[in-house]
Amino acid sequence: MKCSVRRKLELAAVAAIFTLACSHLAQAQTPSWCGPKKATLALLDGYGGNSWRQVTTASGKQEALKCPSITKYEYADGQGDTQKSISDIKAMAAKGIDALVVFPDAGPAMLPAITSVYKSGKVIVPYRVEAGGKAGANYTKFIGTDFKNDGANWGNWIKGVLPQGGNLLFLSGPAGNSQGLDELTGLKSVLGPEYKFLNPEPFDVTNWDPALTQKVLTAEIAKNNKIDVIVSDFGPSLVGALPLFKQSGRSIPALATSDGNSLGCFWTDVHGDNPDFKLFTVSTENDNVRLAVQWAVAAVTEGKAPQEEIFKGPVFENSVTGKPSPVQCRKDLPGQIYLSAQLSADDQAKAVNTK
């Protein structure tokens, strides 16, 4: 009996030491932006219906849960409906959520709802799409994306593969979208007049729709005998359209774009038959949400705010130099995942296969 009491004491001591060690380890892993104050956080999407959003949502959740002070994480999808997006924001605030990270797809239409939530004392961090207004008056902080940086990255690569200049085709989404305009500014900040843009100013409109992209590219291929580089801010939408070059008896030209598993696999399959098909991608920027979550968590839990205030998408694949990474393809996983994202490929596959 005496012996067993002693053993129990020993076990208790070991357990206590183990628990202490673990908690110390946990503290060491807690990021600096995670403060001690307990809080709840919600991620609100204006439109959650594509694989990019699903990977982004999963990334945002993963980032938020790195902070043990976040006791509850919620998500709402506005389904492309501005009214629903507005009521989602108000409902989350009314439910007592302390911090909101918002993708304001509808732009300035979302500002009144964002402002009212901010004025009621909540932390609210819009990201990626500008809703207007000012930090400190309408919201806590806006975390934008540096699309000019993407344009400049593409431009620098194009200068490397075509030092003498050449013919460029720039494709972006809906007419007049600010992302495309910023990317063009970035491209032009690097490329001189020896690089000729074949598309109508400022870019060929594709609505990021693969069918329209295919139609636009058909017309451009027919019109221009010499296209040296295609620049597009949504690479995977080109996968259906690029075989058009083969139909015209031409090699697929160099491509500067954003990454996607389907695009990487397409390059892997066809680059042997297309000597001019060099590929350069920047990250599709799913991790933009992580920076926004960090700011929101820092503000609500009284942690240390991150240093970065704008998200700069990193360069990802380069088929010419292989740096920072050669072209990636995971044939065993869905085409709609983004290997540039921090979230592991398998977790992404789970996120896009949930439905």
Partner: protein, 345 residues
């Protein structure tokens, strides 16, 4: 007035040149298309090169197929707004169910066809038996179909199977395969509509449901079936889109609703129902598609492209509105010659 008389003199001669019966709309749409091709040759020759055509013809084929579906409904005096949902549902079933596995493609297509028949039956029953307004009924069914799209896909696109990409996006004998599918759809619709007893009844019911009911035809059944045939054609178009675009969005049908109505109107079919013109509708699909390729090739701004298409549609409607008076005169003449264009089957 003199002009109108002159045209009535000229048009029968034109009809002798084009032996398709009574298809003045056919002449109009062919002349418009030839004029467009001429304009392309003059201002944007590259848009009519073989490379450009082989890239754009699959999309013309898809517009033609959905146009034929819409045509059948319009013939019955209806209007099918569930086209967008029908096409999108076929797209997501054809891509999500197989998950890239070619072996599952056939079951996926069979499921898509079953869904199309179900959607068509719901539309048809609501419109023909419950007498709901076609626009209201099909908007409701469209919402249901989009519910299905979300249930299947969660709104997320998937890459199509290699087999479907080869079938729908490939080429045979120098022509894109989608064109053969459109041609087959045209043959089926034309033959059934113009040469079969059921087709003649179908057309007669569209022209005058009351009279045909008095004759003893099963008006409601034919009206119901129009929506089923239409959904089957939308399903075909959806499966083809899934193959052609490789990574289609889950909302691929949205962009097809307006063109489907446009080609029916440009093809000369009255929105009030009655006779349909399948061949003219298919040529109008080529016309509309080539028009957008023309605008793209000329390099006009996106806003101007949309305006050009709208003007073409306005022009199409305008042409047929102006011909109203001529129609009356022609109709009177033909009837005076024995009324040979009335076939009730």
């Amino acid at each position: 007035m003199n002009q109108a008389v002159d045209r009535t003199m000229v048009l029968p001669q034109l009809q002798q040149l084009f032996p398709v019966p009574h298809a003045r709309s056919f002449v109009t749409v062919v002349i418009s298309t030839l004029a467009l091709i001429l304009a392309c040759l003059l201002f944007a020759p590259s848009s009519v090169t073989w490379g450009a055509l082989s890239g754009s013809l699959p999309f013309a084929a898809i517009i033609a197929i959905v146009g034929l579906g819409q045509l059948l409904v319009v013939q019955q005096g209806g209007f099918d707004l569930s086209l967008a949902g029908g096409v999108s549902l076929a797209v997501v079933i054809a891509t999500h169910y197989p998950q890239g596995d070619n072996a599952l493609l056939l079951p996926a297509i069979l499921i898509a066809i079953a869904c199309a028949i179900l959607a068509g039956l719901i539309n048809g029953i609501l419109v023909s038996f419950f007498r709901l307004n076609a626009i209201v009924a099909t908007i409701g069914v469209n919402a249901l179909l989009y519910g299905g799209v979300f249930a299947v896909s969660g709104g997320v696109p998937k890459t199509t199977t290699t087999l479907l990409a080869a079938i729908a996006g490939g080429q045979a004998f120098g022509l894109p395969n989608a064109v053969y599918f459109a041609f087959a759809a045209l043959l089926a619709v034309s033959f059934l509509l113009k040469k079969s007893v059921a087709g003649r009844r179908f057309e007669a019911i569209g022209a005058n449901p009351l009279a045909t009911r008095a004759v003893g035809l099963r008006v409601q059944l034919h009206q119901l079936l129009a929506y089923v045939y239409a959904q089957l054609l939308y399903c075909l178009a959806g499966v083809l889109i899934a193959g052609i675009t490789r990574e289609p969005t889950a909302f691929q049908g949205d962009a097809l609703l307006l063109p489907s109505v446009a080609v029916v109107v440009l093809g000369g079919t009255s929105l009030l129902g009655g006779r349909g013109f399948p061949i003219s509708t298919v040529i109008a699909a080529f016309f509309l598609n080539q028009l957008s390729q023309f605008a793209l090739t000329v390099g006009v701004p996106y806003s101007a492209q949309t305006i050009i298409q709208a003007l073409a549609l306005g022009f199409g409607i305008g042409v047929y509105s102006v011909r109203w008076t001529v129609n009356v005169i022609k109709q009177t003449n033909t009837n005076a010659n024995g009324g040979k264009n009335e076939v009730l089957g």
